[in-house]
Amino acid sequence: MAVKHFAKTSNKRKQPFEDDAPPAPSLHVENLEMLSDEENDEDAASDDGHVDEFPEIDTRSDSDEEEDEDDSDDEEEEGENEAEDGSESDNSSLHVFPKAKTIVSDITGQPKRVYPEIEPDYDSDSSTEDAPNRVGNVPMHWYDDLPHVGYNIDGKKVLRPARGDELDKFLQTVEDPSSWTSAFDKTSQMDKPLTTEELDIIQRLYAGEVPDASYDPYEPMTEWFTGKGKEEIMPLSAAPEPKRRWVPSKWEKQKVMKIVRAIRQGRIIGSKPKTTSKFPVYSIWSEPSSSHPPPLPAPKPRLPTNSESYNPPEEYLPTEEERKEWEAQDVEDRERDYLPQKYSALRLVPAYDRFIKERFSRQLDLYLAPRIQRVKLNIDPSTLIPKLPSPSSLKPFPNYKSLTFTQPKGRARCISVSPDGAWVISGDEGGRVSLWEVNVGREVKSWDFGSKIGALEWCPRADVSYFVVTIEEAIHFLIPPNVPSSVFSLTEALLAPASLPPAPTTPSPVKWVSPPSSARSIDTPILTATLPPSSGLPTQVTWHRRGDYLATVSTGGTQGGVWIHQITRRHSQAPFKKVKGAVQMVLFHPLKPHFFVATQQYVRLYNLSEQKLLKTLTPGIKWISSMDVHPSGDHLIVGGYDRKLCWFDLELSDKPYKIMRYHTRAIRSLHFHPSYPLFASSSDDGAIQIFHARVYNDLMTDPLIVPLKILRGHEIRDGLGVLQVKWCSRQPWLVSGGADGTIAVCQNHSFDLWVNNSSDAYAILIHGEMIIFDPDIRGCTRKRSRSQKKTIMPSSPVQKQHGCIRETPGFNVNRKEGIAGTRSEPASLSVSSVAGSLKIVDVPVRSGLRVIHGKYNAGNFDVPITQRAGTPVDPPLN
């Protein structure tokens, strides 16, 4: 207690100078860690002591509590002192923690320190309340998943008290009378009854009073310095009052007199009368204006239309759907900013709720919107379409599908027309190669190779007749059947000569093999060139115009897959060591020793004799699919998978002269007609586009390109349409192979077929010439007319077509333009025309037409007019 007393006295002594200064540390060296609340408590107590000295303060309300506090303080201080005593008695050094024992652990066998257990009632600050949980102020949800809720002072886990379910809680509230005065304690995780003090606070808060019962808000004011008897009587300074306090200022007078004089002289006028902010208007335009041109006037707003009337015609009123659509739209997207409405009288028209908003948006337009002066185009849109010659003036071109040949084994990938234009070979993905006649479509011979045909091509030589087919890294040479013996022997001598040419000096990886003459047959190739293994299927074969060289492009392999083969020497060579990009196609120049190579994006032109690159053409196509060179050799067309077609004038530029995009899908194939000014492109959209393409010899005239005809009829299978198109060399006919396995021949003739209803006579009109077939007169008569075909009316026995059909209902002729159609069932009639000759195939037996001439044999019926064969109806144009 001596220490305490000393502290108290020291506090008292220090009070006037520093109120809350901590006691001098020298006094409390021993209990450093105890420098806690107790000291403040002491201060408070000492303050209380001071307050007590003032007689005005009524401390009765506080007295008992103070005493309680004092009591508790005393107790604590006693404990403190005891602790101090203990510590002092233990040792004089600053030893805070209890001594540790060193024992040998029975788990590890190592010595370890063990501290004695802390006794809570001894040396502890809050001994009165045994709060076992020392977890501190941490969120309790950290312990949500754990069995304990914290640690006690010994570091032992405090287990979570058992908490019943909701029913238990409810029962507890019913059974326990004190449950309604208990609250959940977070640290102990259980309900604790509230103390009376706490309940008192709650009650006070509920009543809206000050929670602290000891606080008196209406304490009387303590007058420290003012009030009766505390007035200061003595002055602070004894100096006498200066003169300026009572003498008027001279300088002020001078200044005022200056103003007064100014006012008298009228230099200063009293505050101006309050003018309105308006300025007078005057004739502003009477003076000449500056020479600056005036700014452009803002565009005037749109004038109102009929639909804005308060009483519009009824047709302007929106229907229910239109109204809903208008309301569903965003305000910015609306075409009109109002809905037409109809009012029966003017007095019923309400205020327009968007009036101010519209004026505001107009002003925003005026000062925020950029203005551009636009030239209003007042032209007829049809004048934008270029004027081109009419297709009818550019005949001949194929305009209808005359026959269809079906490849049974899948997509007709490749076709080729013989140099004389009479035969077609076609190959499909099933490995079948068919040879058939262009005119009739009858298959003459077929070969089965068993795997996908890559490419096939006739040899362009006229004196020999053979074609090449590529399958699986092999190039087969085949001779068609029914070849005249002279041609056959020449071909055989060329492909399988008795004495083989000398082997090349540098050994080539390509093997040329022809079977011995004994094993030869019409079904097997007479010569086979095998490319090196893993070079892939040659997808393209192209001939040099002389027919001695042959270039192939394979899908895989090195050297870009390009090989050039020479037939007579049986020699193959790869012209490129390395090619940038994948080679898509190659072509021989028709006149010069040049070689076109199309990679994915570029077309390169090489000079084969000088072995150098001449040009690189950039079509701007992402992926080139096909190209063809004009027979003159000066123009090139390139088609791409990105639907573009580029026309290059090789003498003009490396850039395309014209880029066209008209197909809706990828372009698959292009071909120039060898003699007519035509070219065709086919695409995956199933269409074939025929163009008239005339080039001129003089350099000044641009080539004339006129679209002529779109031929459709191929089905689209798996996204593939027409895979290849080829022209017949001497006729404006087009052969096209589609992904649906059909090959169509499109020709340029048009028919009109007239059938008699009384006798079995026909009249057929071809290009202004009428030919009448009559079984009764056993022959045919011809009438020539220069006039249009529609005006010709045959002589009396021949009637209009539909009239005839009434008589012979089984006969069905599809009379679309240019197509003499077929009747498929039960018998069929098909009529086709070949360069002035007429053929009727499969004349039906049942319909009474069977005995037209009695020359019906082998399904092929030649009318006597075939003797006129050889004179083409349309002479070639160049």
Partner: protein, 627 residues
């Protein structure tokens, strides 16, 4: 070799500045910049290449011409705005310190900018100004009808009301109103002033509230400019017409709600005889008019010097034209009307002739407004076409005509018909003498340029549709054509036939109906049949249905002809389509754009026509079912 060109030193990079750069250069706030742009009429420009104008950045900004901004830098208004900024700082400091007297002095010497030079700059000639007052009039009329509040001081509203009344007075005086249109948005008026058409929109008389998403500051800035502009324009118009500007306001009448009537027009010569001749010299444009007026005024003053000064100019001058004629033919002082005196056709009489008819359209008539009709609208309309008009006291004071006046020929009434029970014979007689028309009649008469028959517009009748006098775009649907039935469009006739035949079908009994349907179907099949077999089949079907061969043949030939036409068309179309391949990309896009708008207009027209036909059919059916 030329000098190396640096990027961003020439071209679009120099010609354009972004908005933020402009603000930085002018050293003013964004609000001040906006205010300047509004007052000076500077608007953003769209550079041809945004990237080039913005130093390679494609961020969304607005661009201004660098020269516009350079001119702005010397703008006196900008200087005043800067002064105002300093003033605002001083004032707030004074207020913060509680120095009330200095604050008051500051407030008294507040910097105020004037807009005269801007008006002169933006509109170098008077014609330019008149051409551009559309928006100004709309705004002034709108603000004249707004309630004042803390943001809209009452002086502003008052000034707007004054300006709108002055404009109406001028239009009425000069008889320059041409067209009017009652729309759902308000009333559109179109006047012809100085050969410029001026169109303005006046809201209906309801209290408008400024919506929250409208920036009032912007509107007030515009209004500031418009008020100044209109003040100068009106001054010029009034002085050119020999009138005093501003017209004196009768405050008592104004408080009684007289509106336009509270102002009185005063001849300028009565007050000051000096200025008008000098003005006439100054103004070349309509010097003729002024000189004529002056001559007349001098004659008048010679004749009756004892006349009262400050006489009001009579608003409705039915014989003003004859007076003008008098001026021209001084040697021929008879009071003949212009038509007869036009034996000597001068350019003036010829140009005036068609106008004189329409501008004095209502001059023989006297109108009385029923109390539910809007007085400002119809007073303006009637008086600007020479009519006299009166109204009950509930519509405002200052009515020149009492209801019991015998000269009243028309009563504009807009209420349903009710049976009158307690009616004195005097009232009844008066009612029978007058014509009761609905308000639309007045506007339709003005737009038609002649007096229409009143029967269609009689009280409580269903009104004919009210059409816009401003017309629609070229080739749009014209409801008037269908209404009068003069030239019905070709497709409409066909459709009519079809509808007729369909109606016949409806009339036919049910038993017959099926047969008829079948036979129609057969005929239709024949028309469709392209190939002979189908045709034959169709013929058989027709026979079975009982159609005789003659009609069948006819049908077939008709359909053939049609199909032939279509095939030829299709061939041509196909050729055109193919030729489109050879168009360049740019042309193709332009073509598609034009075609798109063409198709859109067509479809709009088609929907309106279809709706009209449906409505007509329905009406016919209703009439049938009734009768």
């Amino acid at each position: 070799m030329g000098r190396l060109r640096q990027k961003g030193k020439a071209g679009a990079a120099k010609a354009y500045v972004t908005r933020s750069a402009a603000i930085k250069k002018l050293q003013c706030s964004l609000a001040d910049f906006r205010r300047l742009c509004i007052l000076k009429g500077i608007f953003p420009r769209e550079p041809r290449n945004r990237k080039k104008a913005n130093k390679g950045s494609s961020a969304p900004t607005s661009f201004y011409y660098a020269k516009d901004i350079a001119y702005l830098a010397h703008e006196p208004v900008l200087k005043k705005l800067r002064e105002h900024k300093a003033f605002a700082k001083k004032l707030s400091r004074a207020l913060g310190r509680g120095e009330w007297s200095s604050a008051k002095t500051l407030e008294d010497n507040k910097p105020v900018y004037r807009l005269d030079h801007i008006i002169k700059e933006r509109y170098p000639t008077f014609i330019d100004a008149v051409r551009d007052i559309d928006d100004a009039l709309c705004m002034v009329f709108l603000f004249a009808s707004l309630p004042s509040n803390s943001r809209l001081p009452p002086e502003l509203i008052e000034n707007c009301a004054r300006l709108s009344s002055e404009w109406q007075l001028y239009v009425m005086h000069s008889r320059s109103l041409r067209k009017s249109f009652l729309s759902i948005k308000g009333v559109y008026y179109q006047a012809e002033v100085m050969d410029q058409t001026v169109t303005w929109l006046v809201p209906y008389q309801f209290t408008q509230n400024i919506p929250a998403d409208v920036d009032v500051r912007v509107m007030l800035t515009f209004l500031e400019l418009y008020q100044t502009l209109l003040g100068f324009v009106f001054f010029k118009l009034y002085t050119d017409a020999g009138l005093v500007y501003p017209p004196p306001l009768d405050i008592k009448k104004d408080e009684g709600g007289a509106g336009v009537g509270a102002f009185s027009l005063q001849d300028a010569s009565d007050r000051t005889s000096g200025p008008p001749p000098t003005k006439a010299k100054a103004v070349e444009i309509d010097g003729r008019k002024i000189s004529g007026k002056d001559v007349r005024q001098t004659i008048k003053s010679i004749n009756a010097t004892a006349e009262t000064t400050g006489i009001d100019v009579e608003m409705s001058e039915p014989n003003s034209n004859s007076e003008e004629v008098d001026e021209e033919f001084v040697a021929h002082p008879s009071k003949s009307d212009p038509q007869s005196s036009a034996s000597l056709p001068t350019l003036k009489s010829l140009t005036d002739l068609p106008l004189s008819l329409s501008t004095s359209l209502f001059s023989p008539y006297t109108f009385y407004l029923s109390r539910e009709t809007s007085r400002p609208i119809f007073e303006f309309l009637v008086r600007s076409f020479g009519g006299r008009i009166g109204w009950p006291a509930s519509s405002g004071s200052g009515s020149p005509i009492e209801e019991s006046d015998d000269s009243i020929t028309h009563v504009i009434i807009d209420r349903p018909l009710v049976e009158r029970t307690n009616e004195t014979p005097e009232e009844r007689e008066r009612r029978l003498r007058r014509k009761y028309v609905q308000p639309q009649w007045v506007v339709d008469c003005i737009n038609a340029g002649r007096i229409l028959l009143e029967d269609a517009y009689a009280q409580a009748k269903t009104l004919p549709p009210h059409l816009s006098p401003f017309g629609e775009h070229q080739g749009a649907y014209d409801p008037a054509v269908g209404l009068t039935g003069e030239i019905a469009p070709a497709p409409a006739i066909e459709e009519d036939e079809e509808s007729e035949s369909e109606e016949q079908d409806i009339e036919i009994d049910n038993v017959e109906d099926d047969v008829e349907r079948a036979d129609k179907a057969a005929l239709k099949a024949a028309a469709v049949a392209e190939d002979p077999a189908a045709l034959w089949a169709a013929e058989l079907a027709a026979e079975a249905a009982g159609v005789d061969f003659g009609t069948f043949e006819k049908e077939v030939t008709k359909s053939r002809k049609a199909s032939k036409m279509t095939t030829r068309d299709t061939v041509e179309e196909a050729e055109k389509d193919m030729n489109k391949m050879m168009m360049s990309n740019k042309q193709k896009k332009l073509y598609e754009k034009m075609k798109y708008s063409e198709r859109k207009r067509e479809s709009e027209r088609a929907t309106l026509e279809a709706k009209k036909q449906a409505i007509q059919k329905q009406k016919k059916q209703e009439a049938k079912s009734k009768g």
